[in-house]
């Protein structure tokens, strides 16, 4: 029997680490057994942290359980049949609750397991049976459709000390004398993966009475899927091709790796020509990701991977002997920080898009003009009410303290309109017609305020129009002044 099986925890108490998570899981189990239906439980975490172990322990709490793991084909029909069978053969104990475990659901294959996620979704929705899913990658696209409907519990890596302690226990049970340093090293290398630590120990110690440091070299360093930062550091710090290749074997979204790589190039490399060369490689990688995306031909990814791995690594003359602090992409941080501002921007752009037959992007490209146009109170008022902008949205174009927009003066809105006519020196008959319409439809309030004034003023303007055509400048300027003074009054 493999040690990983032999020493697999059999109850919640024996599981190392993740105390808080286990408490949550216990509550979930208790509720089910009490007869209260619970949402699907979803354990997410890196390999070797105890997800499958926990799943089996949970299974034992129920009267029975079925499991489908990655080695089974998990198409729609198969899942449905297995589960269907499970639900048909209700056991007589524990209210007939049978736990259904789907292990490693992020490994559900797109074509081979056709409809797999559909079946899972259906089961979650029906919710007759306690359902438990596990997965490694919390961001996998394959689990996206049902992740939000589940109670997600993220299982953390096991602490090195806990692993170390566990290895010691195994050694004493197996009667192996050990060198403290060796177990420590094994625990460290495992990087929080209990299973791989036990496997390594077994390789070293099985059939032996004692282990010491000299045995360590027998165990290959785990071909672990390192995290993004380890890979990025490896690329930026090394010029060794196989090592770099290895570092690029990552179970992460490659465009995300590219972002983190690009972010940290200038943090590691100091010479401008190195930064330039490395960034050219990033640019080429990005280009190939773009090609893959638009052509749906993902073989371009391998070029991208070489450009951003080997290409970036070889852009430096020599490896820097320094410790550079790496960070995630600040543009993502910026996205988070500026969410409310961007929301405001997009909201305004969408209002423009709807009224002006343009896309959001085109609308945004017109913002600079609107900022200028909004300096003019009348135009600002007109456009803001045309687009239906709220006060806070107007602020996008008017950094100055917003004077109470004319629409607030419910007592005399018409007067603004006439002002507007004057200042713009409206001459055309078309526009005059429109104004007529406006005044007809405008509320009776207006009439109360300036009932006699209005038509007179308008007539004046249309009379002027003929003359104004020839010598518009002094007139309009005067009117501009007039308008401004009147607006001041409003303020």
């Amino acid at each position: 029997m493999l040690w990983t099986e032999k020493y697999r925890p059999r109850s919640f108490d024996q599981v190392l680490g993740n105390a808080k998570q286990i408490k949550e899981i216990k509550e979930w189990v208790d509720q089910w057994i009490k007869g209260e239906k619970q949402p699907c439980l979803f354990l997410v975490g890196p390999p070797g942290t105890g997800k499958t172990t926990l799943a089996h322990i949970i299974g034992r709490e129920f009267s029975d359980y079925v499991e489908l793991n990655a080695s089974d084909k998990r198409s729609y029909d198969i899942i449905k049949n297995t589960v269907g069978e499970a639900s048909a053969t209700r056991s007589l104990f524990n209210q007939g609750l049978k736990l259904i475990i789907l292990d490693e659901v992020d490994g559900i294959h797109g074509t081979d397991d056709r409809g797999g996620s559909r079946a899972i979704n259906k089961m979650i929705k029906e919710g007759h049976h306690p359902l438990l899913l596990t997965a490694n990658d919390p961001y996998s696209k394959r689990i996206k459709s049902f992740k939000s409907k589940c109670k997600v519990i993220s299982i953390k890596k096991v602490h090195t000390n806990s692993i170390n302690a566990h290895l010691k226990r195994i050694c004493s049970q197996e009667g192996v004398t050990f060198d403290d340093q060796v177990l420590k090293e094994l625990a460290k290398r495992s990087n929080g993966d209990m299973r791989s630590a036990i496997n390594d120990l077994e390789v070293l110690a099985r059939g032996k009475d004692s282990i010491d440091k000299s045995n360590l070299k027998d165990v290959g360093v785990k071909d672990s899927r390192s995290n993004i930062f380890d890979s990025v550091r490896r690329v930026l710090k090394s010029k060794n091709l196989p090592k770099i290749r290895q570092a690029m074997y990552l179970d992460e979204d490659p465009t995300l790796v590219m972002e983190v790589m690009a972010e940290n190039i200038p943090r590691e490399y100091e010479k401008p020509q190195e930064i330039q060369r490395a960034y050219e490689m990033i640019s080429l990688a990005d280009l190939n990701f773009g090609r893959a995306r638009s052509s749906r031909n993902y073989s371009y990814w391998r070029y991208a991977s070489d450009f951003m791995g080997i290409g970036v690594a070889l852009s430096k003359k020599e490896t820097y002997r320094k410790f550079a602090r790496y960070t995630g992409s600040t543009s993502f941080a910026l996205l988070g920080k500026t969410r409310s501002k961007r929301d405001l921007r997009d909201r305004v752009a969408d209002k423009m898009a709807e009224k002006m037959h343009i896309s959001r992007q085109v609308a945004i490209s017109q913002f600079p003009y609107l900022s200028l146009i909004f300096d003019n109170d009348v135009m600002a008022y007109e456009i803001a009410s045309y687009l239906g902008l709220e006060d806070d949205e107007v602020k996008l174009f008017r950094t100055k303290k917003i004077k109470k927009p004319p629409e607030k003066k419910t007592t005399s809105p018409k007067k603004i309109d006439t002002d507007n006519l004057k200042s713009d020196g409206i001459n055309s008959s078309i526009y005059a017609k429109k104004v007529d319409k406006n005044s007809k439809t405008s509320s009776s309030q207006d009439k109360k305020v300036t009932p006699k004034d209005k038509p007179l003023k308008r007539k004046k303007i249309s009379k002027n129009s003929a003359e104004e055509d020839n010598k518009p400048s002094p007139d309009t300027k005067e009117k501009e002044k007039e308008k401004q003074t009147s607006l001041f009054q409003f303020n």
């Binding site: 972002e259 401008p272 020509q273 990033i282 773009g290 037959h357 085109v362 945004i364 518009p472």
Partner: protein
């Protein structure tokens, strides 16, 4: 309320559309026949693709155009789902009070390939009840099967004298006072984009004084994406991280598109060369890099990453030291 002038002065009929005379002539024939094939309008921004589509639809569909007209632009969700449900449902219904129904899809080049493929089926399934008008900037980004199902009309930048005429008309309608030279300047900066020209005109008019060449220059400089020059100077000084931060802020926060960024960088750099802030050979090196960046962005690369890479090319001074 009449909205911004670009909307207020959007021509409502085919006759009033500015420029594109040969296209308009052919479209009028469709109106006369009360039938039309699927159409594709391609061409740069601000040359009248949307305006023509709207005007054409209104004249063919007549009084009940609203009921028989569906407009979806790039801001609307247009994934496969939309194509398969909304568009399909619209196409399926019989036209009411009009010869057929019209679906206007703006900026089709921003639709995914998958959605385009879904669209292809709809375009031939409902030919009896519906016609499509598609508009795009680059017809190369439209899958061939769709192109082959459309009569393609290539819109060209609006000619200078036509823009002048339109701007003068608006200026008269609005009672503006202007120098004729100012209009010429606007036309120069508009580069055949009438929407841009009108936006410049209204921005200049908003000051409320006589529009002169100077006031146009002021508007142009104020309407630029902000901080681009600042970014370039930082990069030229060798502060790559600083320049990159500015770039990200412009693109993320202001939402400036990659295309606009490239244009602005190009303009700033070429001005710096004219003012001898850049020597000839480094100018050429940078232009080469800008051209390549422009191309890669259009090829579908991520604009921000590409522009970050472009910024490293400005480090040449620091590099040579």
């Amino acid at each position: 309320m009449s909205g911004p002038w670009v909307e207020k002065y959007r021509p409502a009929t085919l006759e009033d559309v500015v420029g594109q005379d040969h296209i308009i002539e052919r479209l009028k024939a469709y109106v006369k026949d009360e039938s039309m094939p699927n159409l594709m309008f391609t061409g740069p921004a601000g040359v009248g693709k949307t305006t023509t589509s709207l005007a054409l639809s209104k004249s063919i569909l007549g009084e009940y155009w609203r009921q028989n007209f569906l407009e979806l632009n790039a801001s609307d969700a247009r994934g496969i789902d939309t194509v398969r449900t909304n568009i399909k449902n619209f196409c399926r219904l019989k036209p009411v009070g009009a010869p057929f129904r019209i679906i206007f899809l703006d900026e089709v080049d921003n639709m995914t390939k998958d959605a385009q493929h879904a669209l292809r089926r709809e375009m031939e399934m409902y030919t009896k009840t519906s016609s499509f008008i598609l508009s795009c900037n680059y017809s190369s980004k439209i899958i061939d099967p769709i192109q082959s199902r459309c009569a393609i009309f290539r819109f060209t930048p609006v000619k200078g004298h036509q823009i002048i005429k339109r701007l003068e008309y608006i200026a008269k309608e609005e009672g503006l006072d202007y120098d004729p030279a100012a209009i010429e300047t606007m036309v120069y900066f508009a580069e055949g984009d009438l929407r841009k020209a009108i936006n410049i005109l209204q921005s200049s008019a908003s000051v409320g004084e006589k529009i002169t060449e100077d006031s146009i220059y002021q508007v142009i400089s104020k309407a630029r994406p902000k901080d681009v020059k600042k970014m370039i100077i930082k990069a030229l000084k060798g502060d790559f991280m600083g320049a990159r931060d500015v770039l990200r802020e412009i693109m993320v926060l202001q939402g400036t598109s990659g295309e606009d960024m490239v244009n602005q960088i190009y303009q700033d750099v070429s001005r710096m060369a004219t003012e001898e802030e850049l020597d000839g050979s480094s100018y050429l090196e940078i232009i080469e890099a800008i051209a390549e960046t422009d191309f890669r962005i259009r090829e579908g690369a991520n604009p921000r990453i590409q522009l970050e890479a472009l910024l490293t090319r400005f480090l040449y001074k620091a590099r040579n030291e």
